[in-house]
């Protein structure tokens, strides 16, 4: 069976310069794939290319359908939820309005309401702050809001851009624990991008290491964890 997301020969960049030089990777249905790499390796750029917010070329399929020429708004409709770099919070809007925007493409009101309740089960703090301006939330709460917004798309695939970035270790633990539950309990397929390799490898079943826009190592999470280079440069032992 082909993977849910298959990427072949992906190049992408800003203006004239290419940042990604031909990536091949995949996310299995129901699986978690991690994309590791140092700051500036091209992780965020990869997610942007997947969603079509920047210039890109190559072959990308989601559930067998080509998405490399599809507009961002339509990729969302095909079932891609994106927790972007910087969390993408609508600061001036309320928490509730942020969530409603997550469900913008959906017409099943009852389904949306049920999904919101389920998300409040994961993130009770969002329910408490539902009427608050999203800009007043803490970093951790904004990350929870971003994850909820992306899940309200009712995606087949969830893209996460450094969910641990700038957060206290305890909150990071919390969030990764919930991501694990979302993957196992709801069989949500996830592509997670992280600088924190050990964290991402705990969650993932497959991983790729990105260096200056090229994949240099790939394999199962267990294999990657044993890899000498990864251990020395990214895991620190």
């Amino acid at each position: 069976m082909p993977a849910l997301l298959e990427v072949r020969g992906l190049t992408a960049g800003y203006g004239e310069t290419n940042v990604l030089h031909g990536l091949d990777f995949a996310v299995e249905e129901g699986g978690v794939t991690a994309l590791l790499g140092a700051n500036g390796a091209g992780k965020t750029t990869t997610l942007r290319a997947l969603c079509g917010t920047i210039r890109r070329a190559g072959e990308m399929t989601l559930g067998g359908a080509r998405i490399d020429r599809t507009a961002t708004e339509d990729i969302v409709r095909l079932g891609v939820g994106h927790v972007p770099d910087g969390r993408g919070t609508f600061m001036e809007l309320t928490v509730e309005e942020n969530l409603r925007l997550g469900a913008y493409t959906r017409r099943d009101r009852a389904g949306v309401a049920a999904d919101m309740e389920r998300l409040f089960g994961y993130f009770p703090r969002l329910k408490e702050r539902i009427r608050q301006q999203a800009g007043t939330l803490s970093g951790g709460e904004q990350q929870m809001l971003a994850i909820s917004r992306a899940l309200l798309v009712k995606p087949q695939l969830l893209l996460l851009d450094e969910p641990s970035f700038g957060l206290a270790p305890l909150i990071v633990q919390d969030i990764f624990h919930i991501l694990r539950r979302i993957n196992t309990e709801e069989r949500m397929s996830i592509l997670v991008v992280e600088q924190n390799a050990s964290l991402a490898l705990d969650l993932a079943d497959h991983a790729y290491l990105l260096e200056t826009g090229r994949i240099v190592i790939s394999g199962t999470a267990a294999e990657i964890r044993q890899d000498e280079t990864v251990r020395r440069s990214y895991l620190g032992y």
């Binding site: 993408g88 609508f90 409603r100």
Partner: protein
């Protein structure tokens, strides 16, 4: 005393007009970070279209609605054809396009409809002045209608999903796209809505100031002063600022500077706000996002 009440009442009446145009300016500013200097001329064009329809024998309110629908379409087309290609252009280039649009519409109005000053019918006729003669029936009707438009716009943005999507597209287009919002379409709709709001203001003010191609030029200045006073990024602030400028203009005109110098009130407000409190009364401090 009666004189003062009269000045305040008619200040509120013109304030309603400024508030509408100020709201139109702020809506476009929020979405594009540009001030649409052609907003006034677009409203004048709407008013000419309305007058043409009325003169063709169409009932006032039908003509009003048709003119606003056409204004909406025109605003959306202007965004699509003129503004979209300018999206990433430097500020000065955009300002150039706005000024160009202003001049073109102004010349077009003169060429098609003529430069003579035309009377404009009021839908609110009544033989006698109301409220003890402080305000004319037209001023009351126009103010009520303008308030109705403002309330409808507020309800739309506050309570509908489309209104929410338009706000999201204006505040954070990148993130809105990731929610599936068609940001470009929202921009066109925003321009259309702003053009219709401005058009309603033009049609309501025309019976008072009479219609000619330059009808809105002074009004745009007052509206801009109101938008700045309220905060150029705050729709509610723009509406309150518009009313405040209307009242201030009338009071200063009557008791301080004289009606000849009323327009300077607008200029003084603009300069004062920019110097003392650039964010306006209700706006957030200006910070450029990186």
């Amino acid at each position: 005393m009666t004189g003062l009440l009269h000045q305040i009442a008619s200040g509120i009446a013109s304030g309603a007009i400024y508030a509408s145009v100020a709201l139109a300016l702020v809506m476009i500013y929020q979405a594009t970070h540009h001030v649409n200097f052609a907003q006034g001329e677009m409203a004048t064009l709407s008013t000419f279209v309305c007058l043409t329809l009325i003169q063709a024998g169409i009932p006032f309110w039908v003509a009003f609605v048709v003119a606003l629908l056409l204004s909406f379409a025109f605003g959306a087309v202007v965004e699509r054809v003129l503004m979209r290609p300018m999206m990433d252009a430097p500020v000065l280039a955009s300002v150039g396009v706005f000024i160009g649009l202003l001049l073109i519409i102004n010349a077009l109005d003169g060429w098609i409809f003529g430069y003579t000053i035309k009377p404009f019918p009021s839908p609110f006729h009544s033989a006698h002045a109301m409220l003890g003669g402080y305000v004319s029936p037209h001023e009351i009707g126009a103010t009520a209608l303008t308030l109705l438009v403002l309330v409808l716009v507020w309800l739309f943005f506050r309570f509908t999903t489309l209104g929410l999507a338009m706000r999201a597209a204006a505040h954070n287009p990148a993130s809105a796209r990731l929610c599936g919002v068609r940001v470009n379409l929202m921009l066109s709709l925003g321009w259309g809505l702003a053009a219709a709001i401005g058009g309603a203001a033009g049609i309501m003010v025309a019976p008072i100031v009479f219609l000619d191609p330059n009808m809105m030029s002074g009004i745009l200045l007052y509206a801009f002063a109101g938008a700045l006073l309220g905060g150029i990024d705050s729709p509610l602030g723009a509406v309150i600022g518009g009313f405040a400028v209307g009242v201030l203009e009338n009071l200063f005109g009557a008791y301080v500077v004289g009606t000849e110098l009323k327009l300077t009130v607008a200029l003084v407000i603009i300069v004062a706000v920019l110097v003392i409190k650039p964010a306006g009364l209700f706006g957030r401090a200006v910070h450029s996002r990186v």
